[in-house]
Symmetry: D2
Subunit: 416 residues, 4 copies
């Protein structure tokens, strides 16, 4: 059996499926269909795709005589599983007005009913079944974060910039921030990655030896105020701070600040899930690309950490911080004492397979390994990550020019 007991897995399944619905609760029907660029998907698509995952990998194999609830789900709501069927181009997902939101919700309920029945009664289910359920839950958690970041991007393109949520009173804005403190680490052959039995993605396996040289790492991410100094110092017009591909991106996209930032009467404003607000200089900078993170670090004279340094440095850290569940989101983020949550942190490590890792067979073989080119690893989780989704060894990854995730940076340096 899997690493969760059957009972806890049923609870986890129900909890996760409900959390997804809670995320879309504030949406109007019209919001479910929009897709502002090819990187993002309409909320409706996320709802259907995560459901299709359980249908195709669970019900089709473990439920006798099961037929697809929606005839076209495989064609419309499949994603990168190119071995299964020729997928509908991602860039056109915003054109799928039918099936309707109501029909997608019925689809979710129908699939949930079947999966829950299997989880409640099934006694002769094999280990593979539980592994797939767990994978489906974690897959849905990934899409919960994308739901948040995609909606934010979609709304931001509407000239009236609608708010996703009202202001909460759970956390006050930061009014100050302490200077960076450095933690130092000795040279040595260390272990990175995971062989633990509890759930992890294939890209975290196996635990393996990696030689680290002496390094130091900052105790908090870089703040908006610190990043503004880079802007004011001409960071975006100084090629010497930028990687070659990064500088080309600055030129092509005419970048001059993080995504969503705009200047108005001398002050920086940013679109948030609450609408436009002034940038708080004491919160962690976010919505920057790897190129921007790398250029900022070079400007300071420091550098980004490698993913192995990051993992080694925070081995003892508790998984505490600012996560999806409280729904404060990007309303108010605290850079201090934060390792996990708030903002994903770009590392200087390209996303590659660990030594001796195996590529799984079949459609799920495409799960992570096929993205191992041109992407950079991010660590730590963000304000849109479900709390129990992230771990020390968790590896997130995006192309180095992407900015619509809650992505920031933490400084590191050689030696002490």
């Amino acid at each position: 059996m899997s690493t969760l007991t059957m009972k806890s897995m049923l609870e986890q399944y129900v909890y996760t499926r409900d959390l997804t619905l809670k995320i879309v609760e504030p949406l109007e029907i019209e919001d479910y269909g929009i897709q502002a660029n090819a990187d993002v998907s309409p909320p409706k698509w996320h709802l259907a795709h995560t459901t299709w995952f359980f249908e195709d990998f669970i019900l089709m194999h473990y439920k006798q005589d099961y037929h697809y609830y929606l005839e076209d789900a495989r064609k419309l709501f499949n994603s990168y599983y190119e071995t299964l069927s020729k997928p509908f181009p991602k860039s056109k997902r915003g054109l799928v007005s039918r099936p309707t939101v109501k029909e997608i919700m019925e689809y979710r309920h129908a699939v949930d009913k079947e999966v829950i029945a299997l989880l409640s009664e099934g006694d002769d289910l094999d280990d593979e079944f539980y592994k797939l359920i767990e994978l489906g839950i974690n897959h849905e958690q990934q899409h919960q974060e994308l739901l948040i970041t995609d909606m934010k991007y979609n709304f931001s393109e509407n000239p009236i910039q609608p708010a996703y949520k009202k202001a909460s009173s759970l956390r006050e804005s930061k009014q100050t921030v302490a200077p960076i403190n450095w933690s130092s680490f000795e040279e040595g052959l260390e272990t990175v990655g995971s062989n633990e039995e509890r759930f992890k993605f294939d890209n975290e396996e196996p635990a393996h030896k990696h030689y680290l040289y002496p390094f130091s790492i900052a105790d908090r991410p870089v703040t908006n105020g610190e990043f503004m100094k880079f802007i004011e110092d001409g960071g975006y017009s100084s090629p010497e701070y930028w990687l070659s591909d990064g500088w080309a991106t600055v030129g092509k996209e005419q970048l001059e600040a993080p995504l969503y930032w705009g200047k108005h009467e001398g002050a920086w404003y940013t679109y948030t899930l609450l609408g436009l607000k002034e940038v708080n200089q004491y919160e962690p900078v976010t919505h920057i690309s790897f190129y921007e993170a790398d250029a900022y670090a070079r400007w300071t004279g420091f550098r980004l950490p490698t993913e192995q340094e990051w993992e080694h440095a925070f081995k003892e850290e508790k998984i505490e911080g600012h996560f999806l569940e409280n729904f404060i989101l990007d309303e108010a983020s605290d850079p201090e004492k934060t390792v996990f949550g708030s903002v994903w942190e770009w590392t200087k490590s390209p996303y590659v397979a660990y030594p001796e890792s195996a590529r799984p067979e079949g459609a799920l073989g495409e799960y992570n390994a096929k993205f191992m080119s041109n992407q950079m690893v991010l660590r730590g989780g963000s304000c849109a990550t479900p709390r129990n989704h992230v771990r020390l060894t968790y590896r997130n990854f995006f192309h180095p020019d992407k900015r619509w995730q809650f992505s920031g940076l933490r400084l590191a340096k050689d030696g002490k």
Copy 2:
């Protein structure tokens, strides 16, 4: 006062506004927001834009202390009236999930209430007022046709190709078609265009002299069956039939048949507002570009008529045929005895101003004149045109590569 009495104008206003709502009746909320390319608009946008027209040109001038009902209407639902405000880019109209459909409908009702009040009671309204109302009605009729053609295009991009309507039983499919008969006309100095008092667009004015050489014109449009022969004869791979820009378009867009056509097991199928159906060879060919119409004509050894020839030839024709109101649409179109309705007919005339025409001042000055480059004139109206919108002198116009309108062709030739 204008050419309609006040009472008939109120009736016409109410009738037109209601007809628009009848068009969108079969839509789900999700359908209102989609936009499959930059040529088309989401249905929601059409509903709001036609309303904004009455609000901005009527209520803001004739209703004391009127304030915009939707604060952002001018920004979101303005179109080409670039002198009024910087418009939101047309290609992003599909991203405007808010205001919602419900809010747009309330906006329509609120504006209607005010306009109807003015039309019912207003005794001291000037001539300009009635002209603007008439223009607004005719403007809305143009958007009724676009609502149909845009929805068709939007739906066609969904892999499940939803049907807009169920089959009606009002008209049977054609089972045969008679050969073309030619009507011949003498040489002479003729009058083209209109000075009539009844409503017409500025681009139809003034009536003016134009010298015509002897010509003949076909008594019906070209059929699907006739066009298939052009395809079978290698028409799409023979540069000698094509204008240079047309041939470039064939190559770039890899054209090999009219829009919406696809071949399946030897037979041509086409997407229609009822879903996929087999192409009926006795109906008029439609959804072809000017380039395709011109190439087809050259292949036959004939040519397209000029717009002046077309107008002169059909001077005595009654405005009868297959129009929007019966909602058969492209379900079953009859090429015989058809001059008006069914399909717009490409002429060989570029869209230019008539001699001695004046360009109106102000925002409405942009109404037609600013499109007078790179577009070709179409005549006659289609199955999606409201019956009382079209006239003998009516000039429709589109870029020569556009195919999403109900556009076909009628042959002509020099001499008898």
Copy 3:
């Protein structure tokens, strides 16, 4: 026989072929190969293409057992004659380093030798032969003008902006210009186009009746100084002056002045065939698109003339002015008393076939007719046009966004 005697045709052939060589005389071998965008061709290509024309249409038909001198000429140096062979993409002409310039020159000499032999001795040659020779000569003259305008564009892209020629002392810069005078014309049915026996292109035929309304036309083209006032008045940022497609072009290409103009310390400079020089406000404005010409005219409250008005107005004008042969080119152009030469003048007429014109059969059928969409007619000739190439009825044509020709405008207006 044709309209030139055999003897004068031989002279004309030799004269024209030599003039082409005189145009390229100042070039370095490296200059012959460059192509700065897909609109222009490398000088080498023009030299080969005009030669291929005589080879393919004359020698292959009138010289027994003739074989292509360059095996690949048909593939490489054919242009739009798509019926003959699949042409090499125009945009890649700058990559054809072989055959070398020397080989192309040998090709020219070899073909010239054969054509001259035919012209000198041939007694049993048919009328078609002489017509093709004449067409070939006129075709080469068109490429002489393109050689000049293409070289100018090519050189302008080199950061060191090389000069094609040294300053001549043949003409002094203009120091003043008289205000516009208007010539007025009565309403009436006039004749346009040509049935004359002397050479003309097919697009000038036939002479035909055209009804003109009263109009007036300026006695000189618009000057740089006048156009600067349009710029200073915000012409390039005022959508109300622009056609819709023109305004889109202004935005996409970020236009703010004629091609080759740049501002330096408050003064306008322009790249010319002599290198950079300050813009002379008393010379005709040139290198503007139809869109710019049309916007300028609307800004003044006047309009462009139609091509029929232009032709009618200058019926009695002698073909005198500033042409290619003196090689002053754009060094110093005089707007006064100029009808022919100096700058081509955009008209408001789309380029279409005249009534009752026939489209010739075969490859030469593509000569002019296939360009009859999306292009506008220009009249009058420029400083790069050979003197005996232009005539009253001559119709030049380009897409409305093109600016690399010597293209300007003359104002017209309705009535007196």
Copy 4:
């Protein structure tokens, strides 16, 4: 002083500069200017750019009162040294017809004369001077290889596909090839990179510890015949073998074979520096992208080696093989017993900085480090690499979609 004695450095300088001229010897003047896409440069540019390097980094600092020989060299022939001056866009290098080839050759001679004088007489030159000379020599060697690969690409775009060279008789075509043998290596903490005093690029420093897991590596690269089996097995239409970005590239560029390959009557042909020839199945496959190399490896069930495995495996290998100097080039390459030379071998390692490496200051700081994103490391050298340019620790790097280098692959696997 540097690692070469002054005398040997003078010899090496002269030898290298002469070898560059030998490479361009077969070119016509017209060939020097062409540039078929933005990845490649015209031969003329390479000649000037390598000269400018010595001028800007040596003569401007070590030769008193030196002035740039070509006023515009910095603007035209600078490359990625963006901190020095705003460079002319790379994609337009093919438009620089002036300075002429003759002027560039004079520029080379003039700079050579000065550098040789310094190298011959200079007694008070500092260590930095010799380091820069050595860097300049190695920089020129990199451009020697690019000269070959760029010319090949440029010529291939000419429809007549000119040959760069005549067939040599130095080496016969392979008629057979032995099956792969595997060499196996134990697990352990190994040293990678170089601290040696002899010249190396900054990206090879410092020597550092890296933990290797047991692996095996093939004794020869993959052959054309082996790669054909991948093609025949549907490799290019099977998404399961491809990285996600690779599969997207296959679709966008419609790839179905290595660059330069085309099928004719059932046999594969390829463009080579001798013109078209049939693909020899016993030679190493080349002109494939990282994506193709990676997909091929996955299809076999093996994988690419990491760059550390490659370096460790061939520690004892002599630098022997098929290099630039014999000018056989891609005429006949031998996969057997080849480690260095013939074809660069893609590794599975993204190009990143070694631990504790320092980024040099100033313009030369951009030399290698700024390319450390989105590129993959290649090892071993090719038939176009100068023999003394490559070393065990040498790291070449290109974006994973690039194919115009002589790039192939060698298989590896986990364990024995």
